[in-house]
């Protein structure tokens, strides 16, 4: 669901340009910086209003770091984050507060992000205490409404986090994220820890809220099935780099980058009808402190050639809103494997 202006163009909510995040590795006697872990390397993308952008990749590819860097929870090494036409990465704390309200995050493990000794009602009401000047009574009423909104009951107000199931806790996480009417929410593996039946419930809730409040989501996940169901566009990351970006239909039907093709073929499908042609990637993700030369994927790529080891591929447009970084984008990896 996209919100378009009267000319049919989509409105940009968030624009990330050349974002980098390096973590220093210190060592030696004087604890000098010896090298860097390049967690996020040159990531740029746009997020439109009312849309869901999926960010997928293996663990350690930098997708969570990217989310945190956008929210300002991690300091950027380089690059800009433009939110509603304002560059927010260098704002002072006070100026930033205005934008922070509009950007929220839902975490993977809601139990870890709730104080086990604080009741749920006050835990949600805390957000209002920081950002608004509501009276205690108003706050309580607002929290009650929120609880109903996310499918919980009023009597849950006075309960502790341990009294809830995983799905209910994630609903509490969602309630906390939407309470200030944000326009942008980052879901960092928000449904990964849940059972499939509960996962479906939470995904449906997120979709309902999106339609009601015109929310934009950045949906970080390693589950490509969920991303296909939930998102409009997808960004594929590998070792801190974006390797492909495109609309869900384009990317799933005609993946350009060999990594995307391999990821899609590796998913176990819940059907038994056809035996698919599958590609197995060999080996693990390389160490991000010592990335391979040239294309970061060449060590595991089934169609890698000499050029890939030396030259880093450019980020190019191959179709409408469909980008990839590969010298041989569009070439199928399946022929080679046979």
């Amino acid at each position: 669901m996209n919100v378009a202006d009267d000319k049919g163009r989509k409105k940009t909510l968030l624009e990330i340009n050349q974002l980098k995040k390096y973590y220093p590795i210190k060592g030696g006697l004087l604890q000098r910086v010896q090298s860097h872990v390049k967690a996020v390397e040159n990531v740029s993308f746009k997020l439109y209003e009312g849309e869901s952008l999926g960010v997928v990749g293996e663990s350690g590819c930098g997708k969570s770091t990217l989310g945190k860097a956008i929210l300002g929870l991690e300091e950027l090494t380089a690059g800009t984050v433009k939110f509603k036409e304002t560059e927010i990465q260098s704002l002072r704390k006070k100026e930033k507060l205005k934008f922070v309200k509009e950007m929220q995050m839902i975490f993977q493990d809601p139990f870890a992000s709730l104080n086990p000794r604080q009741k749920i009602g006050p835990a949600i009401a805390e957000v209002f205490s920081i950002h608004t000047s509501m009276s205690a009574k108003e706050k309580k009423l607002a929290v009650m409404d929120l609880l109903k909104e996310v499918g919980l009951k009023e009597e849950h107000y006075d309960r502790f986090p341990h009294e809830f199931s995983g799905g209910q806790r994630q609903r509490i996480g969602i309630a906390r994220a939407i309470c200030l009417n944000p326009s942008f929410i980052i879901c960092d593996e928000a449904v990964s820890a849940l059972d499939v039946s509960v996962q479906a419930q939470v995904l449906k809730l997120l979709k309902t809220l999106q339609q009601k409040y015109q929310l934009s989501y950045m949906f970080i996940s390693h589950d490509l099935g969920v991303v296909r169901y939930f998102c409009d566009r997808v960004l594929v990351m590998y070792l801190g780099n974006t390797v492909e970006e495109g609309k869900v239909e384009d990317l799933y039907n005609a993946p350009l980058h060999p990594y995307t093709q391999a990821l899609l073929s590796a998913i176990p499908r819940p059907t038994i009808e056809k035996k698919r042609n599958r590609i197995r990637l060999q080996g693990d993700l390389p160490n991000p402190a010592d990335p391979p030369s040239g294309c970061p994927f060449h060590t595991r790529c089934p169609i890698a050639r000499a050029q890939c080891m030396e030259e880093k591929p450019q980020w190019r447009e191959y179709g409408e809103e469909h980008y990839a970084a590969c010298h041989f984008a569009g070439e199928s990896i399946f022929k080679e494997a046979k």
């Binding site: 039946s197 996962q199 419930q201 449906k204 990821l263 176990p268 499908r269 819940p270 059907t271 990637l281």
Partner: protein, 327 residues
């Protein structure tokens, strides 16, 4: 039909709690043939892990098998002493756990942990065990096995650790391998590698495999037969074709519909409302009726028995009762 390897009959596993004994596995029966993979599916808390722990005799100290029979290669093992179980465990029945980091000992080298079962069960010398250990690491696809023998678990990646776990589990050529969510903590690309590995090794060693999982995709990939559990009970059992193409129990159908399908863009998710009842909750009739949209009056009063639809497919649901009787 192959040779029966494991037979579980009417097993009830209980836990001692402050509220008395609570059954976590209620009257579950199934069997497994040599060279066959059985997948046990269900949500967390449905008793699937406890079923596998009961078989291998690793229940927590407050758990016990209250009744029923577990026959492994024709021998009843449920009342074995812990010493007798130790002879079987790691030798004839092995287990792979979900989180390899917690299952491997962080202060011992990979080599030590690989040699241990070989020296205890196969009575190999240290030198022989070391050599066999290297072979095992090679067979699970670990590069530089000689170097890995002297490394510690934290030096390996998640996929590598899980491979080491598999190597240890296979070291004594077990007849039965129990894998409890072996790939849940891994990325899809690594998951695919591990599932292929388990499948290849199963064929090579002609093992029986019990795979506990909640991922229907994994089930479709590896299973020969599937057992669906809900709240401690078996609700449906059948071959993988029967379960995926003709699921009968509303819960099985619900599980299949709540997994988004990557190949179908217009897939509509159907969530199962509510959540799993807790162990101490008293439920009359079918244990699923509160979440079931087809529930009838009978479902609330009487617990459904298992109805056989074919020699391999059975389902515990009243909806099927009429059809079976009509036939």
């Amino acid at each position: 039909m192959g040779e029966a390897l494991l037979e579980v009959k009417n097993m009830i596993t209980e836990f001692r709690t402050a509220d008395g004994y609570l059954p976590a596995v209620r009257d579950v029966s199934f069997s497994l043939n040599k060279g066959e993979t059985l997948c046990i599916v269900g949500e967390s808390g449905c008793g699937k892990s406890i079923t596998s722990l009961s078989i291998i005799g690793l229940l927590p100290s407050n758990g016990r098998i209250a009744s029923g029979e577990i026959k492994f290669e024709g021998e009843a093992i449920q009342s074995h002493t812990s010493e007798q179980m130790r002879q079987i465990r790691g030798n004839q029945i092995s287990m792979i756990f979900q989180e390899p980091m917690t299952a491997l000992n962080p202060v011992l080298t990979i080599g030590y942990q690989l040699r241990e079962p070989l020296m205890i069960h196969e009575k190999l010398s240290k030198k022989e065990a070391h050599k066999k250990g290297i072979d095992l690491l090679k067979s699970v696809g670990i590069p530089y096995p000689e170097k890995r023998m002297n490394q510690y678990p934290h030096e390996l990646s998640g996929g590598m650790r899980q491979r080491v776990m598999i190597a240890i589990a296979l070291s004594c050529n077990p007849g039965l391998l129990i894998a409890d969510e072996p790939t849940t903590a891994l990325d899809v690309t690594i998951q695919a590698q591990i599932l292929d590995l388990i499948n290849d090794l199963k064929q090579e060693y002609h093992m029986g495999v019990i795979m506990v999982t909640h991922d229907m995709g994994v089930v479709a990939e590896v299973a020969d037969r599937v057992m669906v559990m809900y709240a401690g009970k078996k609700v449906e059992e059948g071959t993988v074709e029967e379960i995926f193409n003709h699921p009968k129990h509303p819960y099985t159908i619900g599980l299949l519909n709540s997994v988004p399908d990557v190949d179908k863009p217009d897939f509509e998710l159907e969530a199962i409302p509510g959540s799993l009842p807790s162990l101490n909750q008293q439920i009359h009739g079918c244990r699923f009726h509160e979440r079931c949209k087809f529930a009838k009056e009978t479902c609330k009063q009487q617990e459904p028995p298992a109805f056989d639809l074919s020699h391999s497919h059975s389902v515990s649901c009243w909806l099927e009762a009429e059809e079976v009787i009509n036939q």
